[in-house]
């Protein structure tokens, strides 16, 4: 379990990193915390010719509040969020998610941008940030573009990143005071990847709900207007109106063919809804 030989660059700033990325005529991987890429390299599941290490780039560790949203650099670690070292606009939701990602050793090094770029459907940020309505700034030498979370994750381990592009920042909208948050995952054991995730942000006073079913074999199911799960409308009684059969049908349509898996996903989601209402 030793990686195949690879080249290694540690650029001094983002511009230099993008330049190396743009110029490389070899297969390239960006490495930040290395918590997923490290094992994959060791198992020789990926054999890039060049690694570009962005873990030292100060620009990617900045966090600032811009109007109604919080902008986090891609190299902010899970532990930075867990420990409250950065501001929060989600009324503790992100802190709660961060504190339950894998194990502390992983959280110390793993980054929010790295997790999203890896696009593992079972990763917490993939589901949680979709439910929070986050957007990402993707940057290349040619410029930058903004992509909503639900458009960013395309499939299992597949993102909308193009060649030459990296995740620069994550934009998290401030959670309205009237919104309810629920996040539940089912793991075989503490710290392992989830086999079912339910992430919900429900605002009964605005009659809106963002509902995510995650940790399926493809991109998470993101419902930006989830009224159908609650009998057609989102209101104060949403907890009682949650319809498991609709959730079940949505999962079946998404290709989750195994009844036991669907059953677990539906119940995890139901608990997330209940947690939001609590």
């Amino acid at each position: 379990m030793k990686p195949a030989p690879f080249g290694y660059e540690r650029p001094r700033d983002l511009q230099a990193a993008l330049a190396v990325l743009a110029e490389a005529d070899a297969s390239v991987k960006i490495i930040a915390g290395g918590q997923s890429l490290g094992p994959m390299l060791n198992l020789r599941l990926v054999e890039p010719e060049l690694l570009i290490d962005i873990a030292g780039l100060a620009e990617l560790k900045q966090v600032e509040r811009q109007g109604d949203e919080l902008v986090l650099g891609a190299c902010v670690t899970h532990a930075d969020i867990e420990d409250g070292r950065i501001p929060d606009v989600t009324r503790g939701a992100m802190q709660g998610v961060a504190g339950n990602i894998a194990y502390r050793a992983v959280r110390n090094r793993g980054t929010i941008g790295g997790s999203l770029s890896h696009a593992d459907p079972a990763a917490d940020w993939v589901s949680a940030l979709s439910a929070l309505g986050a957007k990402l700034t993707l940057r290349s030498l040619a410029g930058s573009r903004i992509v909503a979370m639900e458009d960013f994750i395309v499939g299992a381990l597949e993102s909308a990143l193009r060649a030459g592009e990296i995740v620069k920042t994550v934009h998290v909208p401030a959670m309205p005071a009237s919104a309810h948050w629920g996040y539940v995952k089912s793991c075989r054991k503490t710290g392992e990847f989830a086999h079912a995730i339910g992430a919900v942000m429900i605002d009964p006073s605005a009659a809106t709900a963002r509902i995510v079913i995650g940790a399926i074999d493809s991109a998470p199911i993101v419902m930006t207007d989830a009224a159908e799960l609650f009998g057609g409308r989102v209101a104060g009684d949403y907890k009682d109106r949650f319809d498991s059969r609709v959730a079940e049908a949505i999962l079946a349509r998404a290709g989750v063919s195994d009844a036991a898996h669907r059953h677990i996903h539906v119940n995890v989601l139901k608990r997330a809804v209940r947690e939001a209402a609590a």
Binding site: K2, A4, S186, K189, T190, A260, I264, N267, R271
Partner: protein, 794 residues
């Protein structure tokens, strides 16, 4: 100095260090500070690393192995290993078919991960790079992946020359037809998953050749260095004296490290061929996919009982997936053939039948894992006894109490002639039931849970035969039959004590517990007792550490050697005191007479430095004794424990949480109860792994599907509850101090207790699980299957 500060001093009374003392472990000082010396810590000048090319297919004919020209000198295949013989682990049991395991594949590959070529380079990464350039031209053959289908006619054959896939079939029967008219008859199929042993440290090998001694030295993480030496000698065709096996600190064995590895043979050959030291360190993927599988049992079992729950008989067909090869020295039939003799356990029954099959498949060889066969047997028997209880309308605990061997029957020969030395099994069960508060749990169940989970309680009990010796193993005809166990004891010139034993310690704390035995005999401060183990050049021959035998056998040998040493010291001491030897005693580290005493230190000083003061006729053997030991009966000690678990099962998510866990254990006289507690905690963790987490699945092509620890789940600190332990102490009548072997028991009973608790929780839903591990998926699947079955047809 450190030890003298940390340990109760022997000065004064000398109390608190002998048999029964809860001493902290001496070895933990280095192990807990990261100063242990494991195989992977060894650095030798000029050492190079080895990576293996392993078979990517479960079953294939090798057409060609292509090595790029530039690496020809660094890559070795079977064709290079002229004169190296395959590993042959035979058994003398009638009908046993012999497999030959080439150390590098020849002709065919029979499992994923089988060694095909050996690549050597200055670093492991470079060796892996070379391995990646070797291409295998393989003709894939149908894989034998299901042990039950493997017995059907027309199955592909793992070893063509056999004509079938059965290593060994056995049959044992006592009056089974007399049970057939019993009013209660329950039949089930019950199975345990294939597992990986997963010690913290995997295997590792460093091989080097010493021309001065004309000796190959093999450093290996091994439980049984002397047996490894015998195996190497057979494969390499070298005299045993030309081979030294050193096993340094070992990070957990559990049976996995009792096996002769093809890698050990390969590296031994390689260092002699290349003229420099070589190293191979098993990585976790190799560990999971290529070598350390265990536990895969299937039972078709029927229990006959009277209405009052009393057993009339058990009828069983057990199949064990033995994998592709017979492992040295225990052989491929260790598990299945034992099942027939140990299934009845501590229960009374007038009739019994068991057929067993050890089946070859295209998977890793099955290896003995802590509890060897007993975990599966306990799972099968204890699960089906709960169904007898349900049929009889009795509490499961009550069914046990009505059928367990009673204390007044001891010593007791059960229906398979296992000789139980001592114990009160019903009392252990009664205490477990009381401690788990069975009445309280039943009341809680009637009330129901506010969170919708279902509560269940389960019990299990087992016996652990340990330190069984010549009379048991001679019949097996395997390459290793234990006889007497030896130990050497030597007083150093400054009054310290050196002990040399052929068993090894890989987490059991024997550097402490054997020192306690010596202290018990001689009164030497435990801090001044040094254990030397794990080196064929420094220790008496021993079959090593397996079968929970070390405290009984090596403990007995240390006591015997120390007793003889003490006698010699007493005679010297008497002379120094100017007494008749008949009137002096050895007590608390000194020889004492009417009006004075002389310490062992002074006696040692006299023997080594002032021999002019020795009595005439002194024993010329001096203060160094090698002596041997066997218990009065070598049919084994029987320790046992009753386990009881309370679980909460979440029917929505399938999750199982252990709310309470009780263990009432009887290991005879405990040399160090704290070390025993540690053994039980560790065993429980492994048992919980078997019950709820660990599984090595294979697909129909024989590919192992759990190749990293993200797929192969081991319980961690958050999954293992703190059990409540209760010790009983029934001495063995046959052993020194009345000790019994206890090393494996912790891992035997938990899967059955937990599964019974889960089934107790789900029984009102009409759901039962008869397969380990009990995963969330399996729980939900079983519940859904039941509700489908009950749904009225529209």
């Amino acid at each position: 100095m450190r030890n003298e500060r940390d340990f109760p001093s022997a000065d004064g009374a000398g109390a608190g260090q002998g048999v029964g003392a809860r001493l902290p472990r001496k070895e933990d000082d280095r192990l807990m500070r990261g100063r242990g010396q494991f195989v992977a810590d060894i650095r030798l000048a000029g050492m190079q690393d080895v990576a293996f090319v392993r078979s990517p297919l479960a079953h294939a004919r090798i057409r060609a192995i292509e090595v790029p020209e530039r690496y020809r000198a660094s890559v070795f295949t079977a064709a290079d290993l002229a004169g190296v013989r395959p590993i042959r682990a035979v058994s003398g049991l009638p009908g046993f078919k012999i497999s030959e395991q080439p150390v590098l594949a020849t002709g065919k590959v029979r499992q994923v991960g089988e060694l095909v070529a050996m690549c050597v380079a200055p670093t492991r990464a470079e060796a892996e790079d070379i391995a990646a350039t070797v291409t295998l031209d393989l003709e894939e053959l149908p894989a034998v992946h299901d042990m039950r289908k493997a017995r059907e006619p027309g199955s592909a054959l793992v070893h063509e020359e056999w004509g079938d896939n059965v290593f060994l079939e056995t049959n044992f029967e006592v009056d089974i037809s007399r049970a057939f008219d019993a009013p209660i008859k329950v039949s089930r199929e019950i199975s345990t998953a294939r597992q990986c042993m997963s010690p913290l440290e995997g295997r590792g090998v460093v091989a080097t050749f010493d021309h001065r001694l004309d000796q190959l030295t093999l450093y290996s993480a091994a439980q049984m260095p002397h047996i490894t030496r015998s195996g190497l000698s057979e494969c390499l065709g070298m005299e045993q004296g030309r081979i030294r096996v050193v096993s340094p600190d070992v990070g957990g064995g559990f049976g996995h490290k009792g096996i002769l590895l093809p890698e050990e043979v390969c590296l031994s050959w390689l260092t002699m061929r290349r003229g420099h030291p070589v190293r191979w360190t098993e990585d976790r993927r190799e560990h999971l996919t290529a070598s350390s599988n265990c536990r895969e049992h299937h039972y078709r079992i029927t229990v006959y009982a009277d209405r009052d729950g009393r057993l009339r008989g058990i009828d069983c067909e057990a199949t064990v997936d033995s994998g592709a090869y017979s492992s040295y020295p225990f052989s491929a039939c260790l598990e299945a053939a034992q099942v027939a003799s140990i299934l009845p356990g501590p229960y009374l029954m007038p009739a019994y039948r068991c057929r067993t099959f050890s089946v070859a498949t295209n998977k890793c060889p099955i290896l003995p894992y802590r509890g060897v066969a007993r975990t599966g047997v306990c799972f099968a028997l204890e699960l089906i006894l709960d169904l007898v209880a349900a049929e009889a309308g009795l509490e499961p605990g009550e069914v046990r109490l009505r059928n367990l061997v009673r204390p007044e029957q001891m010593p007791f020969d059960n229906i398979t002639k296992k000789h139980f030395d001592s114990g009160d099994y019903p009392e252990a069960m009664r205490r477990a039931l009381a401690s788990i508060d069975i009445g309280g749990v039943r009341a809680r169940q009637r009330k129901g849970e506010i969170d919708g989970r279902r509560i269940g309680v389960g019990v299990s009990i087992y016996c652990e035969q340990a330190a069984h010796g010549t009379s048991v193993y001679s019949g097996w005809g395997i390459p290793m039959v234990p006889g007497h166990e030896q130990a050497s004891a030597r007083l150093t010139p400054d009054g310290g004590l050196e002990l040399r034993v052929g068993v090894h310690s890989h987490g059991q704390g024997m550097e402490t517990t054997l020192a306690q035995v010596a202290h018990e005999m001689l009164g030497v401060d435990v801090a001044k007792v040094r254990l030397i183990l794990g080196d064929t050049a420094m220790t008496p021959y021993s079959t090593g550490t397996w079968g929970s035998r070390s405290m009984v056998m090596a403990g007995g040998a240390v006591a015997t050697a120390c007793r003889e040493l003490g006698e010699r010291a007493r005679h010297i001491g008497a002379k120094l005191l100017q007494h008749d030897p008949a009137v002096v005693v050895l007590q608390d580290g000194a020889v004492r007479g009417f009006n004075g005493s002389v310490t062992l230190k002074e006696i040692a000083h006299t023997w080594y430095r002032r021999p002019q003061d020795l009595p005439t006729g002194v024993d010329p053997g001096g203060l160094e004794v090698t002596s041997g030991y066997k218990p009065q009966r070598d049919s084994g000690t029987f320790s046992y424990a009753a386990h009881a678990a309370v679980v909460a099962v979440d029917p929505d998510l399938g999750e199982v949480e252990i709310l309470d866990y009780v263990i009432v254990e009887d290991g005879g006289v405990l040399v160090n109860p704290m070390v025993v507690d540690g053994q039980i905690y560790g065993g429980l963790a492994q048992g919980i792994g078997t019950a709820l987490y660990e599984e090595m699945p294979f697909d129909a092509a024989g590919q192992p599907l759990a190749t990293t620890l993200a797929d192969y789940l081991l319980p961690g600190p958050t999954e293992v509850p703190a059990p409540r332990l209760d010790h009983m102490e029934t001495p063995s009548p046959y052993t020194q101090f009345g000790v019994k072997g206890i090393g494996e028991g912790g891992a035997i009973a938990p899967p059955a207790a937990i599964a019974n608790a889960v089934n107790d929780a789900l029984r009102p839903l009409g759901v039962e699980l008869m397969q380990s591990p009990i995963t969330p998926y399996r729980v939900v699947e079983a519940i859904l299957a039941r509700s489908d079955a009950e749904r009225p047809v529209a």
